[in-house]
């Protein structure tokens, strides 16, 4: 290979968030990030390997331990050609400089520098010293203003101080960086050394394609979930003597309903696990008040997601599926001696989504036995809610920076949550798209071979893509 691969040493003093930046850039939440100072004590290499060929290496370095001494040594040896190398050579043996040597070593070997500073804090002496000494290394360098808070009063000071000594300065929140921000940061790396352009381009392209593939996979998982959930049914054959009394019958119904609902929940959880794997999250925590932590069939979820009543009606009519649904609904009501069913429904939220019956309930009589069947889902709202939640989940997975695992969610200056906008993703689609989805749902309900699938795939993919590129609000607050 003609050009040496770009090696980028992520530097900064302890706790500036170096490891978070590496984790986010390489989407690797296995990077150990500790809130304690000086967690990274060796220069760990995080290569980006494309088809077995390393294209970039990020080197997570320990923090400076003796910046003042290094600066003074540099200043005293200004005539030395390669300061970093000379320093490492001179101090390798000194245990006190072990960290400093470890972190300067990659620089000595020609790595570019990414300085990570905490933009929320004021500039301290040490920062100035580090900026100056990195300037003296004369390596291609870039600075990342990692600001995990909404404290931005020092940002312009930082910009001033950094731009004097660095080829480029970028703001980057390692805990909230989205896909697009990550790509932009990688793009910016090109500017610090032109020779790397082709390789970085390559890497960026690979990242993009990888992302595309993941999006596809997520969409696939969502579509499969919808298909499975909509054609799901549970049945149970009961001997006549067990349901002589109404209570026995009700119990069977309730059991069946619970089983049905749990089945749906499990499907969703399985799909979520898939989506999470696609986006490479091993560590995961969702804010406890998130709608994702609520029960799938709860009222809160039903209210927050899915289509509005009006949209639903319009979509239903246009899709022509509504008639079927209406009939299903009617039969659901009548076929089970409505009283009992609605009794059960009134007792809890069971079986109701958005105030309507969740699924069809059937009883087939055979000599000596009754066969109870719940499903498939007939509630016209439910698929939209399920889809919304899946998209929300995917959006969270996409935009959950990998460096966030150690984020202190209760830190004092954290970014305030946005005003809550309780609108689902599907609600914002065009009515044509909504209709398309509704048609797909009704086909899925009947377990048909699905010609609509591709169209829906496109619709969902567009939403996810929009989320990734921040064109569509990812509803981080839901």
């Amino acid at each position: 290979m003609a050009v040496k691969i770009p090696r980028l040493a992520i530097m900064g003093h302890p706790n500036a968030g170096k490891s978070s930046v590496v984790a986010t850039l390489t989407e690797n939440d296995q990077v150990a990030i500790d809130k304690r100072a000086g967690t990274t004590t060796e220069s760990d290499v995080y290569p980006v390997v494309i088809d077995g060929v390393t294209v970039i290496e990020f080197i997570d370095t320990p923090g400076f331990q003796n910046p003042n001494a290094i600066l003074e040594w540099f200043q005293a040896n200004l005539d030395t050609r390669d300061l970093a190398r000379a320093f490492v050579m001179a101090h390798r043996a000194d245990p006190l400089f072990a960290h400093d040597c470890a972190l300067l070593e990659p620089v000595a070997e020609g790595a570019g520098i990414i300085l990570v500073v905490d933009g929320s804090k004021r500039i301290k002496e040490k920062d100035r010293v580090e900026i100056e000494l990195l300037r003296l290394t004369a390596r291609p360098r870039m600075a990342i203003l990692n600001n995990l808070t909404n404290q931005d009063r020092y940002m312009s000071q930082w910009q001033d101080a950094l731009s004097k000594a660095f080829n480029s300065v970028r703001e980057f929140n390692a805990h909230r960086a989205t896909y697009s921000e990550r790509i932009k940061l990688l793009e910016a790396l090109k500017s610090i050394d032109q020779r790397w352009e082709a390789l970085l381009e390559n890497a960026i392209d690979a990242f993009k394609k990888d992302w595309e593939r993941r999006t596809d996979q997520a969409v696939g998982a969502i579509i499969d979930l919808l298909k499975d959930a909509l054609s799901y049914r549970v049945s149970k054959t009961v001997k006549d003597n067990k349901i002589v009394f109404k209570s026995g019958r009700d119990r069977v119904k309730a059991e069946l309903m619970t089983e049905f609902e749990n089945g749906l929940r499990h499907m969703e959880i399985a799909a979520q696990a898939q989506i999470r794997t696609h986006f490479r999250h091993n560590v995961w925590n969702v804010a406890s008040d998130s709608i994702l932590n609520q029960d799938l069939l709860s009222n809160e979820v039903g209210e927050a997601l899915g289509l509005s009543r009006r949209q639903l009606a319009l979509v239903g009519m246009a899709a022509g599926a509504a008639s079927g649904v209406a009939i299903d609904l009617a039969t659901a009501g009548s076929s089970l001696g409505s009283g009992a069913f609605f009794g059960a429904a009134a007792g809890g939220v069971l079986g109701m989504v958005g105030g309507r019956v969740l699924a069809k309930f059937d009883i087939e009589r055979a000599p000596g036995t009754h066969r109870f069947t719940v499903g498939p889902v007939t509630n016209p709202r439910f698929p939209f809610i399920l889809l919304d939640r899946s998209i929300l989940y995917s959006a969270r997975a996409m935009n959950w920076a990998h460096g966030r695992q150690a984020a202190e969610e209760d830190a004092p200056n954290r970014v305030p949550e946005k005003v809550i906008d309780k609108r689902g993703f599907t609600e914002e689609l065009s009515s044509a798209e909504q209709r398309e989805l509704a048609r797909f749902f009704s086909a899925a309900r009947r377990g048909r071979d699905l010609e609509r699938e591709d169209l829906c795939r496109t619709v969902i993919k567009n939403v996810l893509r929009g989320v990734a590129l921040s064109e569509i609000d990812s509803r981080g607050d839901l």
Partner: protein, 779 residues
């Protein structure tokens, strides 16, 4: 039954490395079979995604990239087709060779072969039977041409016509009608083929090992389920055998007819009262139109006379054969007409349809876009580079180094001065940002610019100011000197450094090169022997050497302001000491005399407040350096803290310190911005006059940043300078805020520091938070 030649062909192709890029139906079936298998794996264990991605990418890189890249750009359908085809080949090759003939595709192909053969044979036999039945001649009544024509020509022709019409219709209306129109194919031939395929597989499985058998059986269902996914492509494999049957049927019929005509004596006739021979002639001529050019009248079709002659009149036959003797030539004249008619209207359309079916199948296969979900997923897997940000679990490296204790009264040369021993090259502007940020109170602000400004203009005025300086100096300086003499040796590097500075910063002094040597003597003289006479002496050499004049003069000039300033500090107790020290570090470039001189008076001044507060016994004149009362301490403030402190914070700082330790501030000094500053601090410490030993040190540091070796090293240096038993307090503050520049430290940061300080194992070092932690929600 088995068709070894088929698999043999496949094997041959494989062995020759022939990579076909064309798709066949059996390829499609295998393709779907593999896709389904992958899908299954993914569904069961989503983690397998990575493995699949790697495998598919590897296949792509190995096989497809070279071949496909040359023909088409990625994401075109050509590229997709060829890439996927290569993938299939690779998948098949990686299969257990024993299983490859059992793949559904191969099974299907065999089934198709078998089906075609069966259909062809049965077609031939049926054709032959029908023809021989129609041509049964008992020697009495001639064979009725019309029934032959009707059955073998007209009906067949109609069939072909209907087939063509349906095709056209289908191609016009596309998808929806397929199922209805292809009823025969779908309901009869397809199950037939499927059954055949299953039967074949079972036959082979009988000899296969158990696990292969299990796998193959599991795939049987696929054959059925995947049959319709490819639309028209699924339709042709059924149509072609049907056409084969038609062709075979015709061949059978024709061959039988020819055979019978050649080897038996057949008489043909026609009988109809409704038709006039001329009408029949016209009809025959019309039918024979296609071949009349080659086989004309009399050969290709009978002449009018022959037709008239071959007419069968029922009454003639009834009345008795002997009466009527038709011309045998006339009766035979129909035979080639019949053969040609079947060839033209039976065989030919079937052949055309067969060819068309085969062509259309090829076309449909060639048109496959492979855009359905699963194949796209595969294609994406193939095209997407494997991105690996290897998840190496980080091994914990060595902890932050904890510096070992230093021997008393030694310093780490490496850290105090420049680390190298090089002295000739002075460090250029050490900390440009320090000069720009004068945060100290006003008097200092005035002070700082002066040295800088003064240096250049004043060389001319130099001689005169000298005397006043001398006047001022006596009081403080005389007292200081002894100490300085003692301690000077300890800081050789420091002095060197400062020598190096002047030439660089005060460039107007052209004589810079000659300066160092000259200054050295001066310095020593000034520092060591500062009594007035000596100072005068020291000044004299400069007078002689004009070039050197300037620097000493400057120093003298500067003395004035400092001296003037000193009075106010005396009144304001705390700020000044800090103020005085800060400028010293920055004007390092200035020749030593000034610095030395300045620092000492300042220290003395700093003592004064302390003294005032405690005992008014004015001993400053007697004390050689900073005097520390029994409850006074040396306050060391990190520059980060010092930078943000405002004048009103200093009393509060004193107050907090008092609360924490009961100490007053005897003197204060900053540290943290370079070794020069550290040296200064240590200097003051070492020169301190402690009324009550051991010394007391209070270090104020911003604890919101985690401790680094540098911080600990400084503590070690303090310890070395102050003595083993000196009381040291490290008081941490939090990140300064606007309304509170001395905020309490977060408990988290505190424990961080505590851990490191504990490791230093210094029993006389105390770690505290300067401000008490806020009571709310401390963890």
């Amino acid at each position: 039954m088995k068709f070894p030649y088929f698999s043999a062909l496949g094997l041959l192709a494989k062995r020759l490395g022939v990579t076909r890029t064309e798709w066949t139906v059996s390829d499609l079936i295998d393709f779907e079979y593999y896709l389904e298998g992958d899908e299954q794996v993914l569904r069961e264990q989503p983690a397998a995604r990575k493995v699949l991605a790697q495998r598919d990418r590897a296949f792509h890189l190995d096989h497809a990239q070279n071949a496909a890249a040359s023909t088409a750009a990625p994401h075109t359908s050509t590229h997709r087709r060829t890439s996927l085809r290569h993938w299939l080949t690779a998948r098949r090759n990686s299969e257990d060779p024993r299983l490859s003939p059992l793949l559904p595709g191969a099974a299907f192909a065999s089934a198709q072969q078998l089906g075609m053969l069966v259909l062809a044979v049965s077609g031939f036999l049926i054709g032959a039977t029908v023809a021989s039945a129609l041509l049964s001649y008992d020697g009495h009544r001639p064979i009725d041409v019309s029934s032959y024509i009707l059955l073998l020509v007209l009906v067949q022709f109609l069939f072909a016509g209907v087939a063509v019409w349906m095709w056209t219709l289908r191609s016009l209306r596309r998808s929806d009608e397929v199922r209805g129109n292809a009823w025969l194919l779908m309901q009869v031939i397809r199950p037939l083929l499927t059954q055949a395929a299953q039967w074949l597989q079972r036959q082979r499985l009988g000899r296969a090992s158990a696990d292969i058998r299990e796998r193959a059986l599991a795939t049987q269902g696929l054959l059925k389920s995947q049959f319709t996914i490819y639309g028209p492509v699924a339709y042709f494999p059924l149509l072609i055998p049907a056409q084969m049957f038609g062709v075979a049927f015709n061949i059978g019929a024709i061959m039988t007819t020819i055979f019978l005509e050649l080897f038996t004596d057949l008489a043909f006739g026609w009988g109809s009262a409704n038709f006039h021979p001329e009408t029949v002639y016209d009809l025959a001529q019309m039918i024979a139109l296609p071949w009349s050019g080659i086989f004309g009248e009399g050969v290709g079709y009978p002449t009018l006379a022959q037709i008239t002659g071959s007419q069968i009149h029922l009454e003639q036959w009834a009345s008795g054969a002997l009466v009527f003797h038709p011309d045998s030539e006339h009766l035979r004249s129909w035979r080639w007409f019949l053969v040609l008619a079947v060839v033209t209207y039976g065989l030919l359309p079937r052949l055309i349809l067969l060819t068309l079916s085969i062509l259309m199948e090829r076309l449909a296969l060639a048109r496959l876009t492979f855009t359905h979900g699963r194949s796209l997923a595969l294609y994406t897997r193939m095209l997407t580079p494997i991105l690996d940000t290897s998840t190496t679990v980080m091994t914990a490296g060595a902890e932050m180094p904890i510096p070992a204790p230093l021997l008393p009264h030694t310093r780490r040369l490496g850290l105090v001065g420049p680390l190298s021993t090089k002295t000739n090259e002075p460090p250029t502007n050490l900390r440009p940002w320090r000069e720009k940020t004068p945060i100290a109170p006003e008097p200092i602000v005035e002070l700082k610019p002066q040295p800088v400004i003064d240096i250049q203009p004043k060389p001319i005025a130099a001689p005169e100011p000298a005397p006043p300086v001398i006047q001022f100096e006596p009081e403080p300086i005389i007292k200081i000197e002894p100490e300085s003499i003692i301690e000077q040796p300890a800081q050789p590097s420091f002095i060197e450094e400062e020598f190096n500075l002047p030439p660089v910063e005060s460039k107007p002094i052209v004589e810079s090169e000659s300066l160092p040597p000259v200054i050295e003597p001066k310095l020593k003289s000034v520092v060591e022997i500062e009594p007035e006479p000596i100072i005068e002496e020291s000044f004299q050499p400069p007078f002689e050497e004009e070039s050197n004049l300037s620097s000493p003069v400057e120093s003298i000039i500067e003395l004035k302001p400092t001296v003037e300033l000193k009075p106010p500090p005396v009144i304001e107790s705390k700020p000044e000491p800090i103020i005085e020290i800060v400028p010293m570090i920055e004007p390092e470039p200035e020749p030593e005399p000034i610095i030395e001189i300045e620092s000492k008076p300042i220290e003395e001044l700093a003592i004064e407040p302390v003294i005032e507060s405690e005992s008014t016994a004015t001993s400053p004149a007697i004390e050689r350096s900073t005097y520390f009362a029994p409850n006074a301490c040396l306050l060391l403030i990190h520059v980060d803290v010092d930078d943000v402190l405002e004048s009103e914070d200093r009393p509060r700082l004193a107050q907090l310190l008092l609360q924490l330790t009961g100490w007053q501030i005897g003197a204060s000094v900053t540290f943290g911005a370079g070794s020069a500053m550290t040296a200064r601090a240590l200097d003051i410490l070492e020169r301190g006059q402690w009324q009550e030993l051991p010394p007391r040190l209070a270090v104020i540091q911003d604890g919101s940043q985690p401790p680094i070796t540098e911080n600990l090293l400084f503590l070690r240096e303090l310890r070395a300078a102050a003595g083993v038993q000196a009381q040291m307090l490290l008081a941490l503050i939090g990140d300064p805020e606007d309304d509170d520049r001395l905020p309490p430290l977060r408990a988290f940061d505190y424990t961080d520091w505590q851990r490191k300080i504990d490791q230093m194992a210094d029993p006389y070092l105390r770690l505290e938070m300067l401000a008490p932690p806020s009571n709310d929600g401390e963890d």
